[in-house]
């Protein structure tokens, strides 16, 4: 806590993320209306009055849709980054531990994946698999595997030469036990820092894909999808694209601030960077 008090940017980031998480979790109680309730009489109401943030072309309450939309953003971001950490982290650790030619080959494959534009990669995968929640997670996870493989591999290269690894092997522990029980805890902090920064990217990618029309299918509210609908009515109802845009920005900003703060805390050399 003391560290948070000294670091106002990180504290603000934690606050922003907490607000969004609370909004998503308590959406059924916080939302003034049902997010899919269509009230055609009240369509395209400007913000204020009965509808704090206005209504869309179907007369649905924008605030309620933003609250429920936070759920999709958070679920996709958390699930895809966990998957990327699991798959990418394992690939990187095992590759670094084995070393030699295998390692060189695996890392070259990862470099190639890294050089391919991630949004295009996600776009193609979702388009080929079909847009739904699960496929979005798969697509976004796929774009994040390579960076996690790299970050998990680098420390393994030096850790595997350390005395405790040799001691473990001498005691008859299997390679798997040495790697996952003894080496892995030493690289978790770097993976977690990277995870929080990539969460921000995942939120942005999900919103971008939804904006293109490859997100979770309507009527489920998503922030990117709301921006898309709002964009089509931008002349009559600019608030439809402004509010979800601000929501996306605040969550991504919050996650980036937390990620920066965590990185500075684990690597004092970069403090203030």
């Amino acid at each position: 806590m003391r560290w948070l008090r000294h670091n106002r940017m990180t504290a603000l980031g934690v606050l922003l993320c907490a607000v969004v998480v609370c909004g998503a979790v308590f959406a059924p109680w916080l939302a003034p209306y049902d997010p899919s309730d269509q009230n055609i009489v009240d369509k395209l109401q400007p913000p204020g009055g009965d509808y704090l943030l206005g209504t869309d072309a179907f007369g649905r309450d924008v605030l309620s849709r933003i609250l429920f939309g936070a759920r999709i953003s958070l679920i996709v971001a958390v699930a895809s980054i966990l998957a990327a950490i699991l798959v990418g982290g394992t690939i990187g650790m095992v590759s670094g531990y084995i070393g030699g030619r295998t390692d060189r080959f695996v890392m070259q494959v990862m470099d190639v994946m890294l050089s391919f534009p991630s949004l295009i990669l996600g776009l193609i995968v979702v388009a080929l698999l079909g847009p739904d929640l699960q496929n979005l997670v798969v697509a976004i996870a796929l774009t994040a595997i390579a960076p996690f493989a790299r970050i998990a591999r680098a420390p393994v290269l030096s850790l595997k030469e350390r005395a405790f690894v040799e001691a473990g092997r001498a005691l008859g522990f299997s390679h798997a036990r040495v790697l996952f029980v003894h080496i892995m805890p030493n690289l978790m902090s770097e993976v977690v820092v990277m995870g929080s920064l990539w969460m921000a990217t995942a939120v942005r990618t999900e919103a971008s894909l939804s904006f293109i029309g490859l997100g979770v299918k309507p009527p489920t509210p998503t922030w990117g999808g709301m921006m898309r609908d709002g964009f089509e009515a931008i002349l009559d109802a600019p608030w439809l694209s402004i509010w979800p845009g601000i929501a996306i920005l605040l969550l991504v900003l919050g996650l980036n601030m937390v990620g920066d703060g965590l990185r500075d805390a684990t690597d004092p050399k970069l403090a203030g960077g």
């Binding site: 991630s118 949004l119 293109i212 920005l249 900003l253």
Partner: protein, 313 residues
């Protein structure tokens, strides 16, 4: 220098093959038959088989791979399934728009980001540094379609300074430029945010080096020390980031083109997605592969230009 360029050119060939292989694997690994995806679930088996044969999907996988690589390397990127036009024709028609946008964004990003990063580093933890850090964090948190829509609302719809529709007449330089401003700023600001951060941290490291103090002690003016001795040594990480950033730039340009309704590669890829134009998608991915390899090559050459030590390595 010629040997260095030749060596980098040779090194680009395996990278190109690797990226092309990745594209092939992605398109093939994804479950489901493209022919079914194109024709719909109710297609007859005969129709699916016919389309498979037309797309070459009935061939053994190694032959498909060999054909794909062979055609890609000889510049035959295939034809659109919908319009039956060669993909390269469609790409060539919009390429000037995409190049305009990308170059303008890189220019804005560099012209804003490099000085901002250098100043932030020089005035570490002072007001200018804090402002640069906060603004760059906000800048890179903006999804481009959000900043694009906001800029469009403010400068095209509210104040009416710039046009809304982005389809520029390439022959008219004024029209070309005015329609470029908003999209380029949208794309350039995110890039400027990245470059500011990298330049700042690279400069912070360089500023502590002995040669900086030596240059200063010899009586070289401080301005010259910073921009000549400092920035040149901080240049490598900056160029690396600009090169790596290219992938993000391509993704962002797709979104920018949608928001500003600009013709370009991004618009083609989205319409190919909507029309399930499978061969077009594959062809466009090949085009992207060539672009990535080209940018990697340029980045490598820039290394040699900035730091002569790289050429000898």
């Amino acid at each position: 220098m010629i040997f260095y360029v030749l060596r980098r050119l040779l090194a680009a060939i395996p990278t190109l093959l690797a990226v092309l292989t990745l594209v092939f694997v992605i398109v093939r690994v994804v479950p489901g038959d493209p022919a079914v995806a194109i024709l719909g679930d109710r297609a007859t088996p005969d129709a699916v088989a016919a389309l498979d044969a037309k797309l070459g999907l009935d061939q053994p996988i190694w032959r498909q791979y060999a054909t794909f690589i062979g055609q890609s390397l000889t510049g035959d990127f295939g034809r659109s399934m919908v319009t039956n036009r060669p993909i390269l024709t469609d790409v060539a028609a919009v390429l000037p728009h995409t190049i305009d946008l990308t170059l303008a964004a890189v220019l804005i990003g560099t012209l804003v980001g490099v000085p901002a990063g250098v100043w932030a580093a020089l005035y570490r933890n002072r007001a200018i540094d804090i402002a640069a850090r906060v603004l760059s964090l906000i800048g890179l948190s903006f999804p481009v379609f959000v900043s694009g829509v906001f800029l469009l609302l403010a400068f095209a719809l509210h104040w009416r300074i710039f046009p809304v529709i982005g389809n520029a007449n390439l022959a008219d330089p004024i029209d070309r430029l005015t329609k470029l401003v908003l999209p380029a700023v949208t794309l350039g600001l995110v890039m400027a945010a990245y470059i500011t951060r990298v330049t700042r941290s690279a400069m912070l490291q360089v500023l502590g080096e002995d040669y900086m103090r030596t240059a200063r002690a010899k009586g070289v003016p401080w301005r010259r020390v910073v921009w000549r001795h400092g920035l040149r040594n901080a240049g490598l990480p900056v160029v690396t980031v600009v090169g790596l950033y290219f992938g993000i730039l391509i993704g962002n340009s797709v979104l920018t083109e949608i928001v500003f309704n600009r013709p370009g590669l991004g618009k083609i890829i989205v319409s190919a997605l909507n029309q399930r134009d499978y061969t077009m998608l594959q062809g466009l991915m090949v085009v992207y592969c060539f672009m990535i390899v080209l940018v990697n090559l340029i980045t490598d050459l820039a290394y040699g230009f900035i730091d002569p030590r790289v050429k000898q390595a």
